[in-house]
């Protein structure tokens, strides 16, 4: 039982990370039907943005006090949002009316571009570590101290931080989408961009908002990843992005609540199969296989995803 709860905690905290990234895939897909494969790199940029903020502010005195946390978060979000906006403006907007394959290929190109840019040039900035290797992430005292133990179940503080961050972000996002004018404009654009434009909604602005939202949450995930795994590297976005995309599809792409649920489910599935599948096909090495088996099963029996894709088919 203890092991079950422990793995549930592990799975939820891993899933929270997937969920935070998955929201970015789903928001953008919901508005412009683009699978933004470069979103994993936005997550990576968010982590590097937070690291950069720390290097500029705290590293001189090895400062790890807790006030740096919100500052690093803002730094990470600013970096991720800036890159996402540039990406939207210069890579995707010129292809707004192109066939769907063109932006998809562009997304893959942007992804490779961002990875290589960080790999090659981050270390060239004076005083910054070489990004060709994994870089140790600053450990902020309150968030990364000794783990909390409740009845034999060990919960790392960074895991609590991730779950808390997901809860706060999800609630804020829900309120934003359902209660504000801008949020309702997003829903309208998602349903029918042409009619939305006729109703006086600036569609280009809504698309930018979608990218900003996704990037901000990815940056939160980037910071949480750094605190939890104690190091970051230029390739961290690739696999995390792939998993988060899977989570978005699992939950129903285009559906924000679906992305959150999909992420958590994926995380818990990965944790559980590590423990409870016996024999040759069990263990940590097979967790990805089982995660994708679950994805295939869900898509076979419920092609719209767990919570249902909220995309109107405009074909």
């Amino acid at each position: 039982m203890e092991l079950f709860v422990q793995q549930l905690v592990n799975g939820l905290s891993l899933g929270a990370l997937y969920a935070l990234i998955a929201v970015g895939y789903t928001v953008v897909y919901g508005i412009i039907q683009l699978i933004n494969f470069a979103h994993g790199e936005i997550f990576m940029i968010g982590a590097f943005g937070a690291l950069t903020t720390w290097l500029l502010l705290g590293s001189a005195s090895s400062n790890t006090s807790v006030w740096l946390l919100p500052v690093m978060l803002i730094g990470g979000i600013l970096a991720a949002v800036a890159v996402a906006l540039l990406m939207e403006r210069f890579a995707y907007r010129p292809l707004r009316n192109a066939p769907r394959l063109a932006p998809l290929i562009t997304a893959i190109g942007v992804s490779i571009f961002l990875q290589e840019a960080v790999r090659l040039f981050y270390g060239d900035i004076p005083g910054f570590p070489d990004a060709k290797l994994a870089i140790p992430f600053p450990q902020i005292d309150v968030v990364t101290g000794p783990a909390v133990v409740i009845g034999g179940v060990v919960i790392q503080r960074a895991a609590i931080f991730t779950l808390l961050a997901l809860t706060v972000s999800a609630v804020c996002l829900f309120i934003f989408v359902n209660r504000t004018r801008l949020g309702r404009a997003m829903q309208a654009t998602s349903q029918d961009p042409d009619t939305a434009r006729l109703m006086g909604i600036n569609v280009d602005r809504i698309i930018m908002v979608a990218f900003v939202l996704g990037a901000a949450l990815a940056a939160v995930a980037g910071l949480a990843h750094g605190l939890r795994y104690t190091n970051i590297d230029f390739r961290m976005g690739f696999l995390a992005g792939l998993k988060a995309f899977t989570a978005a599809v699992l939950g129903g792409i285009g559906n924000i609540a679906g992305a959150v649920v999909g992420g958590l489910v994926l995380g818990v599935v990965e944790a559980m199969v590590t423990t409870y599948i016996p024999g040759q096909f069990g263990g940590s090495a097979w967790k990805d296989v089982w995660a994708f088996v679950i994805l295939i099963l869900v898509l076979v029996f419920r092609p719209q995803g767990l919570l249902g894709a909220r995309v109107v088919d405009r074909a």
Partner: protein, 408 residues
């Protein structure tokens, strides 16, 4: 219909990205040393090692050390009438990329020998290419026994490629050495094993487990992880209830560091022991403060402590390389010198480098000299005859040698 087509296209593109991220060789060529006026003919020594990515710290140490050996050979005019050059190729620690690098080197008529690779799994795909081209390959770091002794190295050794040699010793020795240290010296009788399914990690863990059980110890749990994993909390949670006194991990530091950190953060406060793949300062950086007491075995004696390596260390520092020689520097230097020694015989009467390839292979078994790491000579399988190993321990945030011993 539209949706289906998009999904199909997306899947194809995804596969394409995966493929692209795995190829794309970043080559890094630097010509070796000063050209002396008398040399006219050029022979190249290739290097196949990870020059970018997680393992580049080890790979660049290999490249620089070979570069040093080549420069010194040119300065001393070791092979009269020939100028040696270095041709370093990046394998990104990936078998496919390594194979492309080997094909590229084999296609260059001037290449007579190759130092590399770092990873056993890469050598498995490099061996056939260089073997077919009759090019000598000397690895400074491959410890997988199958590379020299075939599919069943312990019971039915059979040498697969007569072109392959190595200056380090193998997991057949490294794993049992670790087992004996944990059981006899550290007095730990219950150990859990984890490996990353790569040839190196798997071989290490198999050899370790056999010896540890033979000594009377218990393997409490045997787990595997994926080489790309960042999150080890689930596997740690699974190992923890079996209450091991140590974790033996088969793999390299990019995963071993975070694994150690996460194990200790989850309350599993036991030493993590690994092979030479984590004997690197970056391991301690990644594993953090809680890595104190973690153990590594490495082939040979500590480079700094060897009287024989002093000339190498001085030469390396004098040459002013940007990167440290790292764990395999001295072995790479010896590997390059072994090839150069064979070239002294094979290039003597050769008209061009390509025709000397098979003569070089034939000259290798009789190579014997005192290198930076001790006596350099090969047994009939191509393995090094020197089987000295050392256990290192993280003490005060750095690797400190704990015990050096010749394995018998």
């Amino acid at each position: 219909m539209r949706t289906q087509r998009l999904v199909a296209a997306g899947a194809t593109l995804l596969a394409a990205t995966l493929a692209f991220s795995a190829c794309g060789t970043r080559s890094n060529t630097s010509s070796g040393g000063s050209s002396s006026g008398t040399s006219t003919k050029v022979a190249k020594i290739g290097v196949i090692a990870p020059l970018s990515g997680d393992l580049s710290a080890l790979g660049l140490g290999i490249k620089n050390s070979v570069d040093l050996a080549v420069k010194q050979a040119n300065d001393q005019n070791a092979v009269p009438g020939w100028k040696l050059e270095l041709d370093a190729q990046d394998d990104q620690a990936t078998p496919d990329v390594g194979k492309n690098a080997a094909t590229k080197l084999a296609g260059d008529d001037q290449v007579v020998g190759v130092v590399g690779t770092l990873n056993s799994s890469v050598s498995l795909s490099v061996q056939p290419v260089l073997g077919a081209a009759n090019i000598v390959q000397v690895s400074p770091a491959n410890t997988n026994p199958t590379l020299t002794k075939g599919a069943d190295p312990a019971n039915n050794p059979k040498r697969p490629y007569k072109t392959y040699f190595r200056t380090c010793t193998t997991d057949l020795v490294q794993g049992p050495f670790a087992a004996r240290y944990l059981y006899n010296t550290a007095g730990l009788k219950k150990v859990a094993t984890i490996h990353d399914k790569k040839a190196y990690g798997q071989g290490l863990v198999a050899a370790f487990s056999d010896e540890f059980k033979k000594l009377g110890g218990t393997i409490t749990d045997a787990e595997t992880v994926n080489p790309d994993d960042k999150d080890f909390s689930t596997v740690v949670s699974k190992v923890k209830p079996t209450s091991p006194q140590a974790i033996y991990y088969g793999g390299e530091y990019p995963q071993a560091g975070p694994l150690s950190q996460q194990a200790k953060a989850a309350g599993l406060n036991v030493p993590v022991m690994v092979g030479d793949g984590i004997y690197d300062p970056n391991y301690i950086k990644l594993a953090g403060k809680t890595s104190e007491g973690d153990l590594a075995t490495s082939v040979g004696a500590p480079t700094e402590s060897l009287a024989s390596a002093k000339a190498f260390v001085d030469g390396y520092q004098a040459a002013g390389y940007k990167e440290a020689y790292a764990a395999y520097g001295a072995y790479s230097y010896d590997a390059a010198n072994a090839i150069i020694n064979a070239l002294k015989t094979s290039l003597k009467s050769a008209s061009d480098a390509k025709s000397a390839r098979s003569a070089t292979v034939e000259a290798m078994p009789s190579v014997s000299f005192d290198g930076a790491t001790g006596k350099v000579a090969f047994d009939p399988y191509g393995d090094s005859v020197t089987r000295v190993l050392t256990v290192y321990k993280v003490t005060g945030g750095a690797w400190k040698p704990a015990k050096t011993e010749e394995f018998k």
